[in-house]
């Protein structure tokens, strides 16, 4: 049968291809803009954190220099709100960045910055607690990406954050950046971290996943008469 009626709509193939490409490029471009925005926002938050930390440092210094223990409540409030703020504003973005596989200098710096912020707040908390009687439990949490049981620990810790609010302060230390951030190795050596996940609560090290029951026991022991502990 004569097939001359068969036509190839060449122009439509080409135009459809061009339009698809344009929409695809639009997506990529917007993605890049959003990426930039994300990093600018992180910058902004970091600047705010710097000032908060400076303030806290000053309060701590004041505490030490003048043994003014009636400043304790102020310091405690400032500390808990600073740490909560750090966590609230950045942890979601940090989780997102961790999920992303791309290695970039920017991402590396963001991760290091976040880790150092957590670490220095933790040190400040530990030090302040020697002088003041804070109603908080700081938890240092070592984890890494290639650790299968870490997410379980993460879930449990999140749960305690929800339950105890500002009374439980969690400082996550991502061991993946140990090659680019020297403080990670130092912290690991100090607490002799070999396995992960590892928790450090009140100078005691807990290796492997700490279950909900045991963790609740540890936390409630430190907090006297907390309402969340009655169960």
């Amino acid at each position: 049968m004569d097939k001359s009626f068969r036509k190839i709509s060449k122009d439509k193939y080409v135009i459809a291809g061009i339009i698809t490409f344009l929409i695809f490029s639009l997506g990529i471009t917007l993605g890049m803009i959003i990426d930039n925005q994300r990093y600018s926002l992180i910058e902004e938050v970091n600047m705010e954190q710097e000032v908060n930390y400076l303030s806290l440092q000053m309060q701590h210094l004041y505490l030490n220099s003048f043994s003014a223990t009636d400043n304790c409540p102020v310091v405690e409030t400032a500390l808990t709100s600073a740490v909560t703020d750090l966590s609230d504003s950045l942890s979601e973005v940090i989780s997102y960045e961790e999920e992303l596989d791309t290695k970039s200098k920017r991402k590396d710096l963001v991760m290091r910055r976040y880790l150092l912020d957590n670490l220095r707040y933790w040190i400040l908390a530990q030090d302040s607690m020697q002088r003041c009687d804070f109603d908080i439990v700081p938890v240092l949490y070592f984890y890494a990406k290639d650790c299968p049981s870490c997410p379980n620990q993460g879930t449990i810790l999140t749960y305690f954050k929800e339950k105890f609010g500002e009374k439980v302060l969690i400082f996550p230390i991502n061991l993946d950046i140990r090659d680019s951030e020297p403080m990670v190795q130092i912290a690991m050596k100090q607490f002799k971290v070999t396995k992960y996940p590892t928790l450090v609560i009140n100078d005691k090290k807990y290796e492997g996943v700490v279950s909900r029951e045991i963790l609740e026991g540890i936390i409630c022991e430190s907090l006297d008469g907390a309402s969340e502990c009655q169960s």
């Binding site: 049968m1 004569d2 097939k3 009626f5 068969r6 036509k7 190839i8 709509s9 439509k12 193939y13 135009i15 459809a16 291809g17 339009i19 698809t20 929409i23 695809f24 639009l26 997506g27 990529i28 917007l30 993605g31 959003i34 925005q37 994300r38 926002l41 966590s87 504003s89 942890s91 979601e92 973005v93 989780s95 997102y96 961790e98 596989d101 949490y141 984890y143 990406k145 290639d146 650790c147 299968p148 870490c150 997410p151 379980n152 620990q153 993460g154 879930t155 449990i156 810790l157 999140t158 749960y159 954050k161 929800e162 339950k163 609010g165 969690i170 996550p172 279950s211 909900r212």
Partner: protein, 440 residues
């Protein structure tokens, strides 16, 4: 909101799976976008010559044979025959051949009772030999220059035949072999039927566009009009295939015959009400079409077949491949996180109350920043195109947008494709196992 890494890893496996899944998703979205835009271009291109309504005035009245193959259709066959009897066409210019394909119910009795006073109706009975063979037997004795087949669960609009014949004479091309109808679901009652009603409306528009591209690949059982001599020339229907309506269309394409759709030649068909008959019907369609594509694989990306080879065949194959992988990915993306959530709840002794108490609705700038805009844009555009097609399809079929109610849209867009995808996946598995495929 995850404060800390909550999703479990199986070492590096999930990382690799994630990239693989992402690539597949990208390919799926980009190719869907391409095909949709292509169809949109066809739509806009032909829009100015889209007729509003087919002409019903005929100069010539050729002899037409209407064949009704029936297998245990006692519930609907009388209604089918009545719709034929009501066709607006001279009674001496059409004959009706009802084929009782070895029915075990009251079908033959009902038919004989109805046709006893109509001399252009006849009934032929034989042992069950399948639809294709029944059709061929009828074609052997048919007197009509044209013949149509009307399934015993479908009813034809009285003007459809006129519109189809008009189209044939207007086209005036000896290569035109088949004219396909515009199928609608008859009186949708429950959700299942309403969802299918929407689906068929959309198919009418897509078939109309395919018709312009000479890319129709199925001549629906209910009331497709065939040029008798051409069908006889190619050897009649395939008696082995379980979807002889698809097979004949592919064969027409193979031999460079034309197939056109009569966009307002309406025929109403009963859609399955329950999920098991629906599964059986779709399974038959999918198995048949996989078989046809395999049989006619030489047409894929074949330039000699114009747009049909280059885009329709490629789309058919790509569509099935993507749909199957899509379903597997959907399972991966939905079921697996669900299991993870359950596991997480188990770790905290299912104390959901704490989460509920601590829940603060927070949607700020960050949530936008961590969204995947790149794929988001593609999905958004696809949705918009989908809605536009959806709207245009209703206009094309002369139906109001909300005929079956707004509430049906949710299952249609959300679950229906998932359901069809699962059936497709099962059909693929069945086909791959190579068992002999039977009609039921």
């Amino acid at each position: 909101m995850p404060y800390f890494r909550e999703y479990s890893l199986i070492c590096g496996f999930e990382v690799e799976m994630n990239s693989f899944v992402n690539i597949i998703l990208w390919i799926a979205y980009v190719s869907s976008l391409y095909f949709s835009i292509f169809l949109l271009l066809v739509f806009f291109d032909k829009r100015q010559i889209f007729e509003k309504e087919s002409d019903v005035h005929l100069e010539k009245f050729p002899m037409v044979s209407i064949i009704v193959p029936a297998f245990n259709e006692e519930k609907t066959i009388k209604k089918t025959l009545i719709s034929i009897h009501n066709i607006d066409y001279p009674k001496d210019k059409y004959e009706v051949i009802v084929i009782n394909d070895g029915s075990s119910d009251r079908t033959p009795e009902i038919v004989l009772d109805y046709i006893k006073d109509k001399n252009n109706f006849q009934l032929i009975s034989h042992d069950n030999m399948g639809k294709g063979a029944s059709m061929n037997k009828a074609i052997g004795i048919a007197k009509g220059e044209f013949f149509t087949c009307l399934d015993a669960d479908s009813f034809v609009h009285k003007l459809t035949l006129r519109k189809m014949l008009n189209m044939y004479y207007k086209e005036n091309d000896p290569r035109l072999a088949i004219i396909t109808p515009a199928m609608k679901v008859d009186k949708p009652n429950n959700l299942m039927q309403k969802v299918q009603w929407i689906e068929y409306i959309v198919i009418i528009l897509i078939a109309r566009l395919s018709s312009h591209l000479d890319s129709i690949y199925v001549a629906p059982g209910p009331f497709s009009l065939y040029v008798t001599q051409i069908i006889r020339d190619v050897g009649g229907f395939d008696e082995v295939s379980i979807t002889e309506d698809q097979e004949i269309a592919y064969r027409m394409q193979l031999h460079h015959y034309k197939i056109r759709q009569c966009f307002d030649g309406y025929v109403y068909t009963n859609a399955p009400r329950k999920i098991i008959p629906f599964y059986r019907q779709r399974r038959r369609w999918y198995l048949g079409s996989i078989d046809c594509v395999r049989k006619y694989k030489n047409l894929i990306a074949n330039k000699n077949y114009g747009d049909f080879g280059l885009i329709q065949m490629v789309k058919n194959v790509a569509g099935y491949v993507l749909a199957t992988t899509g379903i597997l990915i959907a399972i991966y993306l939905v079921i697996i996180p669900l299991f993870k959530r359950l596991k997480n709840l188990f770790l905290v002794n299912f104390d959901i109350w704490t989460y509920i108490m601590g829940y603060k609705f927070k949607f700020d700038y960050f949530d936008i920043l961590v969204a995947d805009i790149k794929i988001g844009i593609l999905v958004l555009v696809l949705f918009m195109l989908g809605f536009y097609f959806f709207y245009m399809a209703h206009k094309n079929a002369n139906e109001k947008m909300m005929k079956v109610g707004l509430i049906v849209l949710i299952p249609y867009f959300a679950f229906y494709y998932l359901l069809k995808g699962i059936i497709l996946l099962l059909s693929f598995i069945e086909y791959a196992q190579g068992k002999k495929i039977k009609w039921r």
